[in-house]
């Protein structure tokens, strides 16, 4: 029986027979259908997925004419960061990093980022960030954003002013936990407005809200309120909202945006909130299960993202980093796996960008 080289969700190389790959594709699709209530892929799409996964070449790519926009998160930290950000640990300047991405790495957009990559720590150094934005805008040609995680977790004790919902819930102080989450959402929205409007004043093409809802539903609501405020004050700015995970965690449980509960929503539901708030581009996330195969993870991711793209009125740039979008969860994601996930997202899920 012919065996195909493929990967597990942790990146380990394995061989699988066609029957095993097809079985995992079908199981991955079924999991997305079950969890998200999204439609399954068609038989033709399943066959396409198998062809992509079982391709004998090390690297695969889309057909000429099917290229999509490649936008970025994390800015220069992919060079300067440590392994926590899969960074290279190369202490290159922010201007140089931006121009290298534009002129050597084929980036369609890029961004400026604070070393802590969160909204809150930018506030005390906002003037510094504005000056650097002005300087880089003088040299760069491609759209250049400011990027940061909303990171609502920084507003809870011991880092922030509000009680930590996890601690409060453990003490059965449910109402206090919900109040802390609501206060965080409002505080985060104000901080977003403060930071983002100043960066636009400095000439930023726009703002990238990366890893949105990493601290759950209040983080998502706070970000959406911040996005709406930014849209009101800067009607022409570019806004990208990328998510932290496939489903929004219900840390509060019933907090709403525009009258709807956000907890438990999946990409095809999250995008509706993002576009309502004023985002131009949405970044869906689907998490990788390290115990399952590439076939299972990719089929599941494509099923979720295809529905998100279909529902969206704005372009969708799917998150395709380490551990999301079907890509194995490891620091050095294998080329064969990354390019297969890439092709499947473009030609089956029909994403507008990555």
């Amino acid at each position: 029986m012919t065996q195909f080289y493929t990967r597990m969700g942790d990146g380990k190389r394995v061989t699988m027979a066609k029957k095993e790959i097809m079985c995992d594709i079908e199981d991955g699709i079924a999991d997305a259908v079950d969890m998200g209530g999204v439609p399954a892929l068609s038989q033709n799409e399943i066959d396409m997925l198998f062809e992509i996964i079982s391709n004998k070449n090390r690297i695969v790519g889309v057909e000429p004419g099917n290229e999509v926009v490649l936008s970025y998160d994390i800015g220069q930290l992919d060079f300067t960061g440590d392994n926590g950000n899969s960074g290279n640990g190369v202490d290159v300047g922010r201007l140089e990093s931006a121009l290298l991405h534009e002129r050597a790495l084929g980036a369609d957009t890029f961004e400026l980022a604070h070393a802590d990559y969160s909204i809150k720590p930018v506030k005390p150094v906002i003037a510094n960030e504005m000056q650097t934005m002005e300087e880089i805008q003088n040299e760069i040609v491609a759209p250049f954003f400011y990027g940061a995680m909303p990171n609502g977790g920084l507003y809870y004790a011991p880092d922030g002013p509000y009680g930590n919902p996890a601690d409060l819930m453990r003490e059965f102080k449910i109402e206090e936990a919900m109040t802390a989450a609501e206060l965080t959402a409002n505080h985060l929205a104000k901080d977003i407005e403060y930071v983002a409007t100043r960066m636009v004043t400095a000439g930023a093409d726009g703002f990238n809200f990366d890893t949105t809802a990493s601290a759950g539903d209040a983080d998502f609501v706070g970000t959406l309120k911040g996005v709406a405020a930014l849209r009101r004050e800067c009607p022409n700015t570019y806004i990208m909202v990328g998510m932290a995970g496939e489903s929004v965690m219900g840390i509060h449980g019933s907090i709403e945006y525009e009258g709807k509960i956000v907890a438990g929503t999946y990409p095809h539901q999250q995008v509706v909130f993002a576009q309502k708030a004023g985002a131009n581009v949405f970044g869906p996330v689907v998490n990788t299960n390290t115990s399952k195969s590439l076939a299972w993870n990719l089929a599941r991711s494509v099923t979720f993202v295809k529905e998100c793209v279909k529902v969206a009125k704005i372009p969708c740039h799917v998150n395709m980093g380490m551990g999301v979008g079907g890509i194995p969860m490891c620091e050095t994601a294998p080329l064969d796996a990354v390019t297969r996930c890439n092709k499947a997202m473009v030609e089956i899920a029909k994403v507008d960008g990555i």
Binding site: T201, Y238, K313, I314
Partner: protein
């Protein structure tokens, strides 16, 4: 991750017309097909050619919208973006700031 993504499906930024397509997605909420058609029409070439480095290298220099190699005298930064504004019929924030500062 930049290299495999670009190789597999990326437009290539200013190596081709990826930055221009991105601008239309972000400024007008255009999906990829519409954004590519818009840019191709404005450049007077096909949607296949806008991602072709060979075609775009020459065209970008001719249109003065920024090139990927170091060419003395070729516009880059704000100067290139001002030319992009005219071609795409759009406004770019950093150019607006520059005009305000210089009273152009």
């Amino acid at each position: 991750m930049a290299v495999p993504h670009y190789m597999a499906s990326g437009m290539g930024g200013i190596r081709s017309a990826g930055d221009l397509v991105a601008r239309m997605q972000f400024s007008k909420n255009m999906k990829i097909k519409d954004a590519k058609e818009y840019v191709a029409k404005k450049l007077g070439i096909s949607t296949l050619e806008i991602a072709d480095e060979h075609v775009m290298r020459e065209l970008r220099e001719e249109l003065k919208i920024g090139v990927v190699t170091g060419v003395p005298g070729a516009p880059r930064g704000i100067a290139a973006k001002m030319n992009i504004e005219k071609i795409l019929n759009t406004k770019i924030n950093s150019c607006e700031k520059f005009r305000k500062m210089t009273r152009l």
